[in-house]
């Protein structure tokens, strides 16, 4: 009987859609010949299409709900394949080696174009992991994160342009300046939470971009800075292809470094303080956690990675201008974190792969690209609100660790 009801509802939806799209899909006015063409067949397509879509949509929603109920009655969680792959050592060791081999072989198998895309993905992984500290762990919604990315990029561009400093010298400087700007943003927003924080950080991001765009003497304004040197390789001149491969491996190394550090941070004292701060500020303070220090370190450590990623970005493209650092970038990075799974490292990596590769490979659909992209985001968030790979630390990994400890004690 539920089926009949479902069909009824889907019918209603399709009728509604037919009505809504009637003016654009059916009526076509030809102003030259002053005639109206009625394309009724279009209405049929819209009707059937929306009916099927709505039906399938409802079906999946129902499945999802059923699954949830089953989990609750079973009293234990069933783990999806992706989750098992992350948690079970038997599954992840071969998987990890496969990923490692693939990563190393990648630039030699695929074209330079593909390698360049992969570098971009890795840059976004790094940005995502950095923002994950601020948003995922400390729970501070930062919409101006791209500002730190810009700081890193301009640090390299300007120091290289004026003083001829090399990539490796500037990398730590970029990181340090990123952190400094993180603290600079952190101070005024210490007391803010939620929406207010989001608005102020958004403003901060725009301020940095507007400064770069308008302060011509400093940053050469909208025309940007060109001819930035690629990273040096012991003074040897690299061909374009080799230097791309070189940057690829630099980025692989940096990403690994980021993963290592973020992983350590997550399980450290300060990591726990961030998580606690996200959950309850007053309780945190009552437990003796320094709210100011904890928040500032979250901003600073989050921004550090953006600073570094910015330096690599400038070295990779050899040309930067303020247009690369718009609010849209911040949103994309935030999407990577949320879509991937807040607080989860593997999630962020998956998120970056999906969000950067998808638009790249959707280029074939040209004008429908953003439509498909947006639809997929919506579908993702409805069916997996926790992200592609949910953060498993609290529910599963922790139990394992505890279990082991208990056994040892026995």
């Amino acid at each position: 009987m539920t089926n009949l009801k479902e069909i009824q509802r889907s019918l209603l939806v399709s009728l509604w859609f037919m009505f809504l799209t009637f003016p654009i899909m059916v009526i076509r006015v030809n102003p030259l010949e002053k005639v109206v063409i009625w394309r009724w067949y279009n209405m049929l397509y819209v009707g059937i299409g929306s009916f099927l879509l709505s039906f399938v949509w409802r079906y999946f929603i129902r499945q999802k709900e059923l699954g949830k109920k089953k989990n609750e009655t079973d009293g234990q969680k069933s783990f999806s394949l992706s989750r098992r792959a992350v948690d079970d050592p038997r599954a992840y060791i071969p998987l990890l080696s496969a990923v490692a081999c693939f990563t190393i072989a990648f630039p030699f198998i695929f074209s330079m174009y593909q390698t360049n895309i992969m570098i971009t993905v890795l840059i976004y992984v790094m940005l995502g992991l950095g923002l994950n500290i601020v948003v995922g762990l400390a729970g501070l919604l930062d919409l101006g994160y791209v500002a730190f990315y810009a700081v890193g990029a301009y640090t390299y561009a300007l120091l290289n342009f004026h003083y001829g400093l090399g990539f490796w010298t500037v990398l730590p400087i970029g990181a340090a300046l990123g952190a400094l700007f993180g603290i600079l943003l952190g101070f005024p927003v210490l007391r803010l939470r939620g929406d207010y924080l989001a608005i102020v950080t958004l403003g901060f991001g725009e301020i940095i971009r507007l400064i770069l765009e308008n302060w011509n003497e400093f940053s050469q304004g909208p025309s940007g800075i060109a001819n930035i040197s690629k990273p040096g390789f012991f003074g040897i001149h690299l061909s374009l292809q080799n230097s791309t491969i070189y940057i690829y491996f630099i980025m692989v190394g940096l990403t690994l470094f980021t993963i290592l550090v973020v992983n350590r941070l997550q399980n450290s004292r300060i990591g726990r303080a961030w998580i606690a701060l996200r959950e309850d500020e007053v309780a945190c303070q009552a437990m003796g956690i320094d709210k100011r220090k904890t928040k500032l370190t979250a901003f600073a450590l989050g921004a550090t990675w953006a600073g570094m990623a910015g330096v690599v970005f400038a070295a990779k493209t050899t040309f930067i201008n303020p247009a690369s650092f718009t609010i849209l970038e911040s949103i994309v990075i935030l999407c990577i974190v949320v879509l991937g799974g807040m607080g989860s490292i593997t999630g962020v990596i998956a998120g970056a792969l999906v969000l950067i590769l998808l638009p790249e490979y959707l280029r074939a659909f040209s004008e429908y690209r953003l439509l498909i992209f947006g639809t997929m985001l919506v579908i993702m968030m409805v069916f997996r609100p926790g992200g592609i790979i949910e953060n498993v630390r609290r529910t599963y990994e922790f139990e394992l660790k505890e279990g082991k400890e208990l056994k040892n004690e026995d």
Binding site: R269, R272, A273, I275, A276, E279, D280, V282, A283, C284, Q285, A286, M287, G288, I289, D290, K291, R394, F398, E399, E402
Partner: protein, 235 residues
């Protein structure tokens, strides 16, 4: 142990605490009772630095602590169980307890303390790996008290531990409070609406009205005081 002299606290320009004087000696259970909005929570918040007082002096073991940041005050040995429990909902019971020991460096002793807590609250031991937010109200209150105990405070503030609990659970909680006070000689400052139980548990008590301390006496005397009986005991 704790001496408060002429404390005045404000929220913006609302004058909440007016010349509050409180004296707590080591090993005592002191209770502060008063109507809703009297300023009890604010008193605790002012002492622990979360609402910095505008004037007055607070001495902990002879040293002035007013104007110190909250984490410094906790590190001196003053810890509070905030009103409404405020446990970390997504952290497990063990992790919640771990947060209580945030400032402590002696990891091994912390582990022992945790086992001790689980002896004190067997209910929590069964639920070690359960997320704090999924505990029942009574269990959450036990967790909140345990979490504060993990800091090994010498002075423990409890803000309305009976809030929203069944009479039987309240009784249990108050028994545990007495036990903590006796066994580890922890001084306890208890803020309560449930004046009946609070006065039975405490040694001395203060009555607060509109931000002023209006009465202070031994618990028995307050219990038999006509005004207190009428206003807070409903007799």
């Amino acid at each position: 142990m704790l001496k408060i002299v002429g404390l005045n606290s404000y929220y913006g320009n609302i004058h909440v605490l007016k010349d509050v004087n409180i004296d707590i000696s080591e090993g005592e259970i002191i209770t502060l009772i008063g109507a809703n909005g009297a300023g009890k929570t604010t008193t605790l918040m002012s002492i622990s630095g979360l609402v910095p007082p505008r004037s007055g002096e607070i001495y902990f073991e002879g040293k002035p602590i007013q104007g110190m940041v909250p984490d410094k005050i906790v590190s001196l040995g003053i810890c509070q169980v905030p009103e409404g429990r405020r446990i970390f909902p997504y952290l497990t019971v063990t992790e919640n307890l771990d947060m209580g020991a945030f400032l402590r460096k002696d990891k091994r002793v912390v582990k022992n303390d945790m086992e001790h807590i689980f002896d004190l609250f067997p209910l929590l031991a069964e639920r070690r790996r359960q997320a704090g937010g999924t505990l029942s109200g009574g269990e959450q209150q036990m967790l909140a008290i345990s979490r504060a105990l993990m800091a090994r405070p010498r002075l423990l503030f409890l803000d309305e531990p009976s809030l929203g609990l069944a009479p039987l659970v309240i009784k249990q909680i108050f028994e545990i409070i007495t036990k903590i006070n006796k066994e580890s000689n922890t001084t306890i400052f208890l803020v309560e609406q449930n004046a009946n139980l609070a006065l039975k548990t405490a040694h001395r008590g203060y009555v607060m009205e509109n931000g002023r301390i209006t009465l202070s006496d031994s618990a028995e005397n307050l219990f038999s005081n006509e005004a207190v009986k009428k206003a807070y005991l409903g007799l």
